[in-house]
Symmetry: C2
Subunit: 558 residues, 2 copies
Amino acid sequence: SVPQKLGEALSSQYGLNVFVAGLLLLLAWAVHASGVGKSGLLCFLTALMLLQLLWVLWFVGRSAAHRRLIRLKDTHAGARWLRGSITLFAILTVVLGCLKIGYFVGFSECLSATEGVFPVTHTVHTLVQVYFLWGHAKDIIQSFKTLERFGVIHSVFTNLLLWANSVLNESKHQLNEHKERLITLGFGNITIVLDDHTPPCNCSAPTLCSAVSHGIYLLYPFNIEYQILASTMLYVLWKNIGRQVDGHQHRKIQFRWHGVTVGSALGLTVLAATIGVVVVYLIQIGRSKTKSESALIMFYLYATALLMLMGAAGLVGIRIHRLDEPPLDESKNPARKLDSDLLVGTASGSWLLSWGSILAILCAKARPVYTWYNLPYSVLVIIEKYIQNLFIIESVHREPEKLSEDIRTLRVVTVCSGSDPSLASSSLRSGAVAGDVAPQVIQMPPAVNGNLCSREASGKGEAEPGGGGAPGPACRPRFLQGNAKRSILRNIAAFLFLCNISLWIPPAFGCRPEYDNGLEEIVFGFEPWIIVVNLAMPFSIFYRMHAAASLFEGYCKL
Amino acid sequence: SVPQKLGEALSSQYGLNVFVAGLLLLLAWAVHASGVGKSGLLCFLTALMLLQLLWVLWFVGRSAAHRRLIRLKDTHAGARWLRGSITLFAILTVVLGCLKIGYFVGFSECLSATEGVFPVTHTVHTLVQVYFLWGHAKDIIQSFKTLERFGVIHSVFTNLLLWANSVLNESKHQLNEHKERLITLGFGNITIVLDDHTPPCNCSAPTLCSAVSHGIYLLYPFNIEYQILASTMLYVLWKNIGRQVDGHQHRKIQFRWHGVTVGSALGLTVLAATIGVVVVYLIQIGRSKTKSESALIMFYLYATALLMLMGAAGLVGIRIHRLDEPPLDESKNPARKLDSDLLVGTASGSWLLSWGSILAILCAKARPVYTWYNLPYSVLVIIEKYIQNLFIIESVHREPEKLSEDIRTLRVVTVCSGSDPSLASSSLRSGAVAGDVAPQVIQMPPAVNGNLCSREASGKGEAEPGGGGAPGPACRPRFLQGNAKRSILRNIAAFLFLCNISLWIPPAFGCRPEYDNGLEEIVFGFEPWIIVVNLAMPFSIFYRMHAAASLFEGYCKL
């Protein structure tokens, strides 16, 4: 077999070529190249998906046949909540597939057969892939490495191409909506051609078709997230092939929902408010010039306030993290490295847009009042992502504390129960129950805390079951302080998590001031700015979902 | 101080923002955005360079003040030949700067002052930066890390922006030439506007100005290589800040010019032939339709033959490498990791162009005869880079053999000289001389080789100075075989090195069949294809120079 480095190069080059060829087909479709149509692109994507399905079936079959072999697992990869969220997105993708099939049936007169075959294949592909990821996302493959590498990298880039395809569809839709608004507002001077708007024939059931096509564009954002999430999970699987694992296996991360009432209450308020703002924005924008402007001002003011809150929360979080300066966990971990790189990389997409807005405001010749609100908003987008990335990187690089509360409780119980083995094992069982109750320690009065702490301390030294009394002078404040810190950090993480989910909604569902603002289009020109927005926006949208996922992971480690 | 990971995130985010802002200024200039001109861009770049100069002066001053401190060095980074080649490119960049100053003086009536300030600052910046890289490219900085990180990443992105600026200038020039050819050939249907062609006033000394402006475009390719090379070296310096170095310090790599006559003779022939082909191409193209077509056919035939040779050589090299399957050196090494990533990453640029050509040929409606030659050429470009990357990655990941010939000779001498310390030290001195003669071992008759080999073997066990005799059965063939292998590999590396230098020349100096072929422009449309070429071509050009550098490094390790 070939060495790790060579195997990676062999397969990654294959994958990149598939990706590049697919991107060119997408480009050809986007620019209406002569001779290459949508059906060519869909054929290519369908072929890629079928190839991946073949490989997955082979792999699953072989794994089932060798079930008795001990297989290594990367405990960092494919966390349960990650697989849970991918399942959720996959379900919505399957619904999207069904809607697309319905749309094809409605317009079957003038659509080519590929537009029917594609959603069917895609649905099967989604179901099989989610099954595969549930079973194998954590695997560290050590056999038949070359074939596995090719299969996994093929899957990575197939998903990336499906992502790019969805993004392109979504962008075309958004651009069409933008152009329709421009027509309403009376900008006749731009040559407006709607692109792939509706098929050139009548639907057999018009109301159904219109509902379906609305539904499709509501579901696209979830499909987009699904594809990119799947490709990141597959990429981690690929990086793990043939890896040497050190003995260090980290503790399972647990999600505990307690003591974050303030953070989650604030976050949920923000979520509700954002949905309200988006709905108002989408109703108002493009109706008339004044209504559009007031919608823009409302959005900018709301987003500015929210970003300031988020930035402040992030700063407090970093400050608290930096107070005790524990060494960060720098062990090798492909999943975490990818996460950090993606955070900074995808943030660049939105930085590009923000710098574009700033440049446009500074260089524009005429500046209507509402465009000034854009300046603080753009600056804050940059600063907030800068701060938030630092906070997330610090959180996810933290070693989960060795002695968390439930283990402490368990130990106290064990120490109390003495040396009787049967009692100890029963207390272990009660420890499992205690684990659920344990977070209440945070709200316990100081005396109890102190008591627990001193027992813990005595448990560390010699087992003196009756040795409880006045706690040591240094013991209580540090313990309390640690708990208070952790509680604040958790609240911040929960708040930022919900805020990021909130901020994912506006661009994903068509609230894009970068289009509606108009100033950038005047300075850079319509075409160049549209290209920039269409290239950068998908990364900017993905950033929010990815930041939310990383914050969740950081939260679980606190 | 902040932990490694956090410091990297802090500074890289700053750098990315500078980069993104600069890219937008470049875009604004490229699309003639209203309100942002060339002078705004040049002001920004000048400010960045001045900031970098300030930081470099501070850093050099501080290093000089703490000269007595022991400083760690990364022996992999900033090899001598790398610093040598950057110096060469820097000299040409300084010449370019002088020409630009001359150009400014000639057209001073209608050029803004920034166009004079920029080349002056750039020249100073180049000189200081080369001095800095000679002294500090290998440093592993362990103090004042935050400030150093910001300074180094600022330098990285300043150089990248200067690279992007040069690339844009060069692209505009090439596009203008292409448009002029189209005018000559009578394609009046495309709206042809020459972009930033000549300043809107007359030169005070017309012949001088014309010569200078020709000279500028001949020197641009070297400037482009200089900027990207400088930014990769600075990036490695940045990655090394605060790094924990393991004790493992590798042996100094030596360049030996021997036994590669076949490879270098073939390579030099290719170099001469390529220059000839490029000159003929540039004379013929755009003269008339038939002359253009014959020039294209000549280029495609030549390049196809050359790429087949290179691919075959690469395949033989990989086969020989794979014969003995030694474990690869997988130790942590930022310089090497960057090199491999850049190879695969920049190859993607040329893969994009090749897939574009393939797609265009397959989908075009009318295919003139000469376009068919494009198909094997494009396919071979993909395959050759695939193979070559594998060969390079295998070569640079090889551990240099622990016992090379000169050390062997030295040991034989030492073993023969017995235990007398003064004699041993004198033989050590003679060993230094023997090191120069050592490569002749390759040409020694088998008997001498066998003798040496057996002594070597006995030297390994116990010191038996008189124990030489008939060599062991397995010893001689393996030793010989190893030498023959190494000789072939070196010839291949030397040949590929010169071929890559050769293939760097055509696109860098304006021989771009992707423009002149015309087929892609018809299929994708003029604008989209020009954008794709301008985005992908810089990476494709850089690939050749970078592959040559990596092959040189691999050659030294053989």
